[in-house]
């Protein structure tokens, strides 16, 4: 890749360590993302049958009404989802970080849970609640004689996607808000600014990196997501079109891969635009440890209003999980607002097997999360703090992972690594570490955005000071940069970890024995028969609980650090 060419044009010269790091990361991304994807996606550039290089498939793409319509539908849905997701995330982020609000940790954690929607069973729960004959509509029809089409058409997709992905904005924005230096706010107040003007001129601009990180993730993720449109039976969007083609047996058809290429290009472009939006502005503040913005206390009725808003939003975004829980303890739930009767039998049934699934999930997701944070920090550092030529490409390559459909990555891994045998004859792709690497690659963009946002808020002056005092670059990173980034790093880890815990599309291709299977695979196996619906939901709840507990612990650590810092 381009990274090997170190920059040598005046200005701050890059160190050998930085260049080595860039090359190492470049090689990692090449081996586990670019190469496997390329082995599959190259079909997009070939003529069917002869295999000769051609661009005619892209011409066909723009000549096909269906694809062009799908493209604009995807753009519309993604933009609107960002708008609604922001509307859900803003009140939660501001209330929990700017005000002395009891239960802030719990709210932050619960606000994060919607991101963890187990495959298949989540869809069933959602339908049972909001579907045409879901609980809400059955009750509405009974009482008032009308129904609301929550889950129909493009607006249905926007509704579900906003509920599902708003935590991206919540997590990143909250991390940003916490990092704003209190001195900035106090300075503004001393100069006579207050209230809305203070928020508009000081808080909002300084929190921008976090918001942009979250919003760009929501945009790209919604643009590339296929599960929700398919669940709502919306086929005229780009990602479902790619999936419908790639998953049909006619897998040699280039158009599916052409769409994949378009998805990748749009995702990278969206990232580029969001980077432009933040370019040439300085978001860093020098003083750290101010404990973020001053926490105001609320008067009685203000606090009541605050709680009403928070509880309302949480009820809305957690409703699928409430339905999922009901499903896991239901005997039969069919065309009725609530299940017919309740039982614990489903938990009994999954109990014996789930301990293995839980162990595997924890191991896979935490290694993947760790890899993501390490690589995410490294890329963020290289991009923001060095002048290496082509450093942006590392960022864009890593973000492109969002747009690579899981099934494409899975097939790519089989193609690339199955031929490599270990000494005893087992193929490399048969080892569980392959699953971990696939998960790490697929979730790297989440961690990367969080790490970048965190680093953008740290003033370079702190590092320069450390270096002036004689610290090496490596020592500066270790003793100054990383500690100051902790909040962002944890946000990144938690996002990568928890979404990796319920990933299925690539996993399904790579799991080769039940003893290596994570929870999501166990869930899939159950969700293939009517009898398995309850146990599937029970496994889903176990997955959600697992992630919630891990998230709660990490939030608790962040909060404690902050309190400690504030009191010092």
């Amino acid at each position: 890749m381009t990274l090997a060419l170190g920059a040598r044009r005046g200005a701050p010269a890059t160190t050998r360590g930085q260049r080595a790091l860039a090359v190492a990361i470049g090689l990692f991304l090449f081996a586990f993302l670019v190469l496997p994807t390329a082995t599959v996606v190259f079909v997009a550039f070939t003529e069917k049958g002869t295999g000769q290089f051609t661009l005619v498939n892209f011409v066909d793409f723009f000549r096909t009404d269906l694809f062009v319509r799908s493209f604009w539908n995807s753009v519309y849905v993604s933009v609107m989802s960002v708008v609604w997701a922001s509307a859900l995330a803003l009140p939660l982020a501001i209330l929990t970080t700017r005000f002395a609000f009891r239960g802030a940790v719990l709210i932050q954690t619960l606000g994060f849970v919607p991101l963890v929607m187990p495959p298949f069973v989540g869809a069933v729960a959602m339908q049972l609640l909001f579907g045409r004959n879901g609980s809400v509509n059955l009750l509405l029809d009974d009482a008032f004689g009308f129904k609301i089409p929550f889950m129909e058409g493009l607006n249905g997709v926007i509704f579900v996607q906003s509920l599902h992905y708003f935590p991206f904005i919540l997590v990143n924005l909250s991390a940003s808000l916490r990092n704003i230096d209190r001195a900035m706010e106090e300075a503004a107040q001393n100069l006579g600014s207050s209230g809305f003007r203070l928020i508009r001129r000081i808080v909002v601009p300084l929190a921008m990196p976090g918001f942009v990180a979250g919003a760009s993730l929501v945009f790209v993720k919604v643009f590339d997501d296929l599960a929700t449109p398919l669940l709502l039976n919306v086929k005229e969007m780009l990602a479902p079109q790619a999936y419908l083609r790639v998953s049909s047996i006619g897998i040699a058809d280039p158009m599916g891969y052409v769409i994949s290429v378009v998805l990748i290009v749009v995702s990278v472009a969206a990232m580029w635009i969001s980077a432009l939006a933040l370019k040439d502005r300085d978001y860093a503040t020098v003083q750290r440890g101010g404990g973020g913005l001053a926490r105001r206390s609320l008067t009685g009725w203000e606090s009541a209003l605050g709680y009403a808003v928070v509880i309302g939003i949480l009820l809305l975004v957690l409703s699928p999980h409430i339905a999922l829980f009901l499903l896991s303890i239901a005997t039969i739930w069919s065309f009725s607002p609530l299940p017919d009767a309740y039982t614990l039998a489903h938990y009994n049934r999954v109990f014996a097997e789930s301990s293995l699934y839980i162990k595997n999930t924890l191991v896979y997701a935490s290694i993947a999360g760790l890899i993501d944070v390490v690589i995410g920090t490294a890329i963020a550092y290289l991009v923001l703090r060095t002048k290496l030529v082509g450093r942006q490409w590392l960022d864009w390559a890593a973000m492109a992972a969002l747009a690579v459909p899981g099934v494409v990555l899975g097939i790519g891994y089989l193609r690339t690594f199955y031929g490599i045998s270990l000494p005893d004859g087992t193929p490399l792709a048969a080892l569980w570490i392959t699953i971990v690497l696939a998960l790490a690659i697929r979730r790297l963009p989440y961690a990367l955005r969080a790490c970048t946002a965190a680093l953008q808020q740290i003033s370079i002056a702190l590092e320069e000071a450390a270096e002036n005092l004689g610290a090496t670059k490596a020592r500066t990173v270790r003793r100054v940069v990383v500690p100051l980034m902790t909040g962002g790093l944890l946000a990144g880890f938690v996002t990568s970890f928890s979404t990796a815990a319920v990933e299925l599309s690539a996993t399904l291709m790579l799991v080769q024995s039940n003893s290596d299977a994570p929870l999501a695979y166990g869930l899939y196996v159950f969700m293939q028969s009517s009898n398995g619906r309850g146990p599937g939901a029970a496994l889903g709840i176990i997955a959600v609980l697992l992630v919630t507990v891990c998230t709660l612990v990490s939030h608790w650590i962040v909060e404690r650090r902050h309190e400690g810092a504030g009191n010092r």
């Binding site: 049958g49 047996i249 089989l414 193609r415 028969s529």
Partner: protein, 438 residues
């Protein structure tokens, strides 16, 4: 990071060497649910002490793709799934090996469908019939009568209540569509399919989504394979099922993968499946598939359908596998381009036509009747004939053969534009007819 990798690698090496040390491990890749595979695993391991059945669950397409991608270092012994066309793909790529079973008492045909692949590369082990499944609570709440025949589903009362899986992604639906096309002929068959499709609520992307939607009560009626309905009923869902007087029978299959690492074990499992003990496992309430050994029905519950005796299964037209195979991709793509991706327009016309019919029933109007007929003909129009569908110019576009006339994407755009134009014209005519009839 390197430390983590090293530790992970060492650990995984240790785990994998334990797994291969076992003898008699038979690895099967399957699309069947846990409820189906678990009882077989248990019975097989009991019948063959020392053997273990390692089940890898994948959907059919992923399973085919997996075997194809890993052929250089194959670790899979058996492919076990419903859709015969998936096995045809594997067979076409020489990824299956022939096997002559020793089991006795199994006839050549079920209904009029040959049980085993004539080439001997894959074998039927169970049969399934196609039919109509519905949610009782849904039907009562919406006051819809129970359907009995395929044609019933085209009636106005079923508008927006029916679901089906797309034939492009469900091998079994593909067989149903192909059966209608072969039974009624190309033009008339497509007319029937479009009339049914005008009432569709949903065209799902997985076979199992149809019973799941009916179970949940999101959709009232589903066109499904029988065992989905039987096992849903056995689990307590308020659903019912009926075979129409003409149904298709589809065998579910098993095949030994070429270069199977444990060939003897694979053969043992095939023989077990076909033995009376193995066939009886099919009667399990959670599985409920039709055994292909007629003798086993003696042990079945009283109301268990028997395709070897039930006349409904015998009526099925002779199904030509060659015709079906020659145009698989064309039929699937036509269905998607004319129906799946145009469903809103098609439903819009159908709804108006239902209203015209209702108005005409009250007060006849010859002119409106003619317009409605013209609208129906426009909807039924096909961009190509049966001969063209199997011709080299068209099929070549899907395989990339030299004879192709146009690229697949070009054909798709043509077909979609053809349907869109006809549906718009039909809508205008139907609306005019409605004005006259009212």
């Amino acid at each position: 990071m390197i430390k983590i990798f090293a530790a992970a690698l060492a650990l995984s090496l240790a785990i994998s060497s334990v797994a291969t040390a076992q003898t008699g491990k038979v690895t099967v890749v399957t699309s069947f649910a846990k409820d189906v595979t678990d009882p077989f695993k248990k019975a097989f391991e009991k019948a063959y002490p020392g053997a273990t059945l390692e089940v890898q669950n994948r959907n059919t397409n992923a399973a085919v793709k997996f075997i194809e991608e890993t052929k250089a270092n194959n670790q899979i012994d058996l492919m076990w799934a419903s859709a015969p066309d998936a096995f045809e793909v594997l067979k076409g790529k020489s990824l299956l090996q022939k096997y002559q079973p020793k089991a006795v008492g199994i006839p050549d045909k079920v209904g009029s469908y040959p049980i085993n692949d004539p080439g001997g590369t894959y074998l039927g082990f169970a049969a399934s019939g196609y039919g109509i499944m519905w949610n009782d609570r849904y039907m009562k709440a919406n006051k819809i009568p129970e359907p009995a025949e395929w044609q019933d589903l085209a009636k106005a009362v079923y508008f927006d209540h029916v679901a089906i899986a797309s034939p492009a992604r469900s091998g079994t639906t593909h067989l149903t569509v192909e059966t209608i096309l072969q039974g009624e002929g190309w033009e008339k068959g497509w007319r029937t399919i479009k009339e049914l499709a005008g009432n569709f609520r949903q065209i799902t992307d997985r076979s199992f989504d149809v019973p799941e939607q009916v179970n949940s009560g999101q959709v009232g009626i589903g066109i499904v394979i029988d065992f989905f309905a039987f096992s849903a009923k056995a689990s307590g869902f308020p659903v019912k099922f009926a075979y129409p007087s003409v149904t298709t029978v589809v065998p579910a299959n098993i095949g030994i993968v070429a270069n199977a690492p444990n060939k003897a074990g694979a053969e043992a499992f095939v023989e077990f499946l076909l033995s009376p003990v193995g066939q009886e496992v099919l009667l399990d309430p959670g599985i409920r598939r039709l055994p292909i050994n007629p003798a086993v029905y003696a042990k079945a519950p009283a109301d268990y359908p028997n395709p070897f005796k039930d006349p409904r299964f015998q009526k099925m037209i002779t199904f030509s596998a060659e015709t079906s195979e020659s145009r698989t991709a064309v039929v699937d793509t036509l269905f998607d381009q004319l129906i799946s991706f145009q469903l809103a327009a098609l439903k819009d016309v159908t709804k108006t036509l239902h209203e015209v019919d209702a108005a005409l029933a009250k007060k006849d109007n010859a002119q409106a009747r003619t317009l409605a007929k013209e609208a129906r003909d426009l909807v039924a129009a096909m961009p190509l004939t049966a001969q063209q569908a199997s011709s080299k110019e068209i099929t070549g576009a899907f395989t990339g053969a030299k004879e192709k006339g146009a690229r697949q994407a070009e054909l798709e755009q043509q077909w979609a534009a053809f349907a869109k134009e006809r549906y718009t014209q039909a809508k205008t005519k139907a609306s005019d007819a409605l004005k006259l009839a009212r």
